[in-house]
């Protein structure tokens, strides 16, 4: 169990996003109390449709991260156990199922607990997801909508070169066709359920705002990569990016991404180094360590080792922007959401991208938290490690859980990463 030391964030943008999400969540409560429909979405669901229709929603993995940061996960696991479920399954995706069984959620849950969803939407990207969402939908009395998942048959190299404006070449055409049809089904369902009317022009505006927002992430990612000393670390960028990513398609999120860029640029221009004695640049692979963010800062003073890269900012930079959306916004949206899992979890798309990012960011070593119990996040870690090591970048691979801190031992992990830095990074450079 991690001690109560907290991560030190320096960016105003990180504080702003933290404050915004709290305020946004309060307003979400108000809207639900006023009788509006409320959708609970898995992270890979095309939330842009909900945004365009102004249907309030909350993203499962974002909420799981909040619950974990508030140390609520063990409580929710207990509820699952009491209801007869195993307590070692799908911790990232099932926290809310435990929460749905909590009779005191409004009093004890983070920020007044989760408002009662009336809709639950997930993609069938793993065997468990549909089951978990069906159970939580039933507990909340929500209606369930599922979307299928297809596998790429052709895998062009360097997806990041195609994703922005040659996305038709990135995918098998019939996968895109099917995804567009599913989006239309989702829209019809939402129209029927909420009485709202979908407006293509509004979706175009949302897509434009997202391109703008992610464009700022691209500039920010490139800025940090090029800076002689990293002006910020992942402790600031993960939260600031993830929190705003789930608000994508809003004026606030696009503005926030710009403000974050400008703040980091000002720091870089002033020669500020987040870790003044920076000697080594580290890459964090895997989901965020939501229950122990301070861990990332454990290696700064002693080794001058700064975690400068995580997928959160870099995915924003490379995976989201879709040009040409005005011609066919649904197809452009399909071209965004059907690839997300594969960019991250399918070799060679993930391994090639990690190597490219590691090189661009002058990474000295990679600390890689592979999932302990989640098949959806299984991503060919052996291929990834091999590709990075072959590129001359040492990797420390370990198993861990992003939200469940019951098996996390900060002391042991600090020692493990410290030894990795000493032996593989420092030792490697001296050899």
């Amino acid at each position: 169990m991690a001690e109560e030391r907290r991560a030190v964030k320096t960016l105003k943008a990180a504080q702003e996003s933290g404050a915004y999400q709290k305020e946004w969540f309060r307003s979400l409560h108000d809207r639900v109390k006023a009788g509006e429909d409320f959708a609970y979405l898995n992270a890979d669901v095309p939330m842009e449709i909900f945004r365009a229709m102004d249907v309030p929603f909350c993203v499962n993995q974002w909420w799981a991260a909040i619950c974990s940061a508030k140390r609520m996960t063990p409580r929710y696991v207990n509820f699952l156990r009491e209801a007869g479920y195993r307590d070692d399954l799908c911790s990232y995706c099932s926290a809310v199922l435990g929460e749905s069984l909590d009779p005191e959620d409004a009093e004890l849950g983070p920020w007044g607990g989760l408002p009662r969803p009336t809709m639950a939407v997930t993609r069938l990207t793993c065997d468990c997801q549909g089951k978990i969402f069906q159970l939580l939908a039933r507990n909340y009395g929500a209606e369930l909508f599922t979307m299928e998942n297809t596998l790429p048959r052709t895998v062009p190299e360097n997806w990041w070169d195609l994703a922005t404006d040659r996305w038709e070449e990135l995918y098998d055409a019939d996968r895109l066709d099917l995804a567009v049809e599913e989006l239309k089904d989702l829209i019809s369902w939402l129209e029927r359920k909420t009485g709202r009317v979908f407006d293509y022009d509004r979706l175009i505006q949302v897509m434009a705002l997202i391109n703008e927002q992610e464009g700022w992430y691209r500039r920010t990612r490139d800025l940090i990569a090029a800076a002689p000393m990293a002006p910020v670390t992942v402790v600031d960028t993960i939260n600031a990016t993830m929190q705003a990513q789930w608000q994508r398609g809003t004026e606030w999120a696009a503005g926030h991404a710009r403000r974050m860029y400008e703040e980091i640029k000002a720091l870089a221009d002033a020669g500020h180094a987040a870790v003044p004695n920076e000697k080594y640049r580290l890459m964090w692979l895997g989901r965020g360590l939501w229950h122990d963010f301070a861990f990332y800062q454990n290696f700064e003073e002693k080794y001058g080792a700064a975690f400068v890269w995580s997928m959160y900012l870099a995915m924003g930079a490379d995976a989201y922007i879709r040009e040409g959306y005005e011609r066919d916004p649904l197809r452009a949206l399909a071209a965004r959401y059907i690839g997300m899992e594969d960019f991250l979890h399918m070799p060679p798309w993930n391994s090639g991208w990690f190597v490219r990012e590691a090189k661009n960011n002058r990474i000295d070593g990679v600390v890689y938290m592979a999932p302990a119990n989640c098949m959806q996040a299984v991503e060919g870690s052996g291929f990834i490690v091999k590709a990075l090591e072959r590129a001359g970048i040492p990797v420390l691979l370990f198993r861990g859980d992003p939200v469940d801190d019951r098996k996390w031992n900060r002391e042991n992990m600090t020692e493990l990463v410290g030894r990795f830095i000493e032996e593989r990074i420092i030792g490697g450079k001296e050899a």
């Binding site: 209801a83 065997d127 291929f383």
Partner: protein, 390 residues
């Protein structure tokens, strides 16, 4: 529990021989006749196309003796141990009895397995991974997904033609459907003998009868099963509480033996080394792709893929039709999806007076769990409810 009546039966002995050999001899004989062999992973490979191209489908069985050293180089810890063993057989050294591979997306872990095999072929061309097809079915029942699946079926047909080195005609396909439907009907006769008021075939015996089909010429399997079914009608009736089995594929007899040696009779199952694999015929009158897709989309909903509601409905229905007194749900380590169903299944089954027990996180082979036999025996004792034969 293999009884003397089975072991003394000629057809059963032949099926048992093939089952024990895991098809190595059958594959060699097929190759010697100039045929090609397709190693299959997953219970949803549309074998109709393979048979139509005179390709022998050969299920890749896990090997309980393997040290998994080769699989461990590539697979994360959370791959279930049975799939780990199957992967090890593919990537490990030694002569392989297959020329090609076909993997269906019957469960998430097999999707990953396919991706890893594809990547292995790309990054390590010297690795023993042959040309591999992937069947990406969508299992949610809907007209839209049916059309997508028909395109996948047509794609697999093309791949089978490439492997066979000749076109597969609709007549070839009709003949293959005829053989497989005959085999499924024959297995249906065995199932009827298990489901009867007085069951004549044990679950363990049925595992051998069903499993042999994974490793041999299917017309011969059909004929042997038909011959066996006729004779098994005279086998002694089995006594004991009737049990329905759900969960992990059973490639060996250990788990069924634990349950049946404790006194239960396994009268049905939804696992893919048993009756789920053979249920539902392919409609010989419909257009080929349509008929194939219909069959693979409409079987008993898979514990790995279906929603909780569909699983609960299917399991209660199956258990009731089997007149089961209890249901044993078994899952291997890291095989997680069905665990989300179990609390609901248990409640629904118990409301119908059917007891349910979950045996999860099982190792492979199951003997590694030293407590399993005792736990299963205790469950069977519960089912007996204090009577001599349940």
């Amino acid at each position: 529990m293999l009884r003397d009546c089975a072991l003394e039966n000629q057809a059963f002995r032949e099926l048992y021989r093939v089952w024990l050999d895991r098809g190595n001899g059958e594959a060699a004989a097929h190759r010697a006749r100039g045929g090609r062999v397709v190693g299959c992973l997953g219970a949803d490979v549309p074998e109709e196309y393979l048979l139509a191209g005179d390709l022998l489908p050969l299920r890749i069985a896990p090997d309980p003796r393997s040290d998994l050293a080769h699989a461990d180089r590539y697979l994360e810890a959370c791959f279930d141990p049975m799939v780990r063993s199957q992967f090890d057989r593919i990537v490990g050294p030694g002569e392989k009895p297959w020329d090609f591979l076909a993997v269906s997306n019957s469960t998430d872990v097999l999707v990953r397995t396919y991706l890893y095999l594809r990547e292995l072929r790309r990054t390590e061309p010297e690795a023993p991974v042959p040309d591999t097809a992937f069947i990406d079915w969508l299992f949610t029942p809907s007209e839209r997904f049916r059309r997508y699946n028909e395109a996948r079926a047509a794609e697999f047909r093309k791949k089978a033609e490439e492997w066979a080195g000749r076109p597969i005609t609709d007549a070839d396909l009709r003949e293959a459907v005829h053989v497989l439907n005959g085999e499924r009907s024959a297995m249906g006769r065995i199932y009827a003998l298990r489901q009867a008021e007085g069951p004549r075939v044990s679950g363990t015996e049925a595992l051998v009868i069903a499993g042999a089909g994974f490793y041999m010429d299917r017309a011969r399997h059909r004929d042997l099963v038909n011959a066996l079914a006729a004779e098994a009608e005279a086998w002694p009736v089995l006594k004991g509480p009737r049990l329905y089995f759900s969960g992990t594929e059973q490639y060996d007899l250990t788990v069924y033996s634990y349950l049946e040696e404790a006194g239960a009779v396994i009268v049905g199952e939804d696992q893919d080394c048993g009756m789920r694999y053979y249920c539902r015929l392919t409609d010989p009158e419909s257009p080929p792709e349509e008929a194939v897709v219909e069959r693979y989309m409409r079987r008993i909903p898979s514990p790995k893929k279906a929603t909780v509601t569909r699983r609960v409905e299917a399991l209660v229905c199956e258990a009731q039709e089997s007149r089961a007194r209890g249901v044993a749900v078994c899952m291997d380590q890291f095989e997680e999806a069905a665990s989300w169903d179990f609390p609901e299944e248990k409640r629904a089954l118990e409301a119908e007076g059917i007891r349910a027990a979950e045996f999860c996180k099982l190792p492979y082979p199951a003997e590694k769990d030293e407590t399993l036999r005792g736990r299963m025996a205790a469950f069977v004792e519960e089912l007996k409810g204090g009577t001599a034969d349940g």
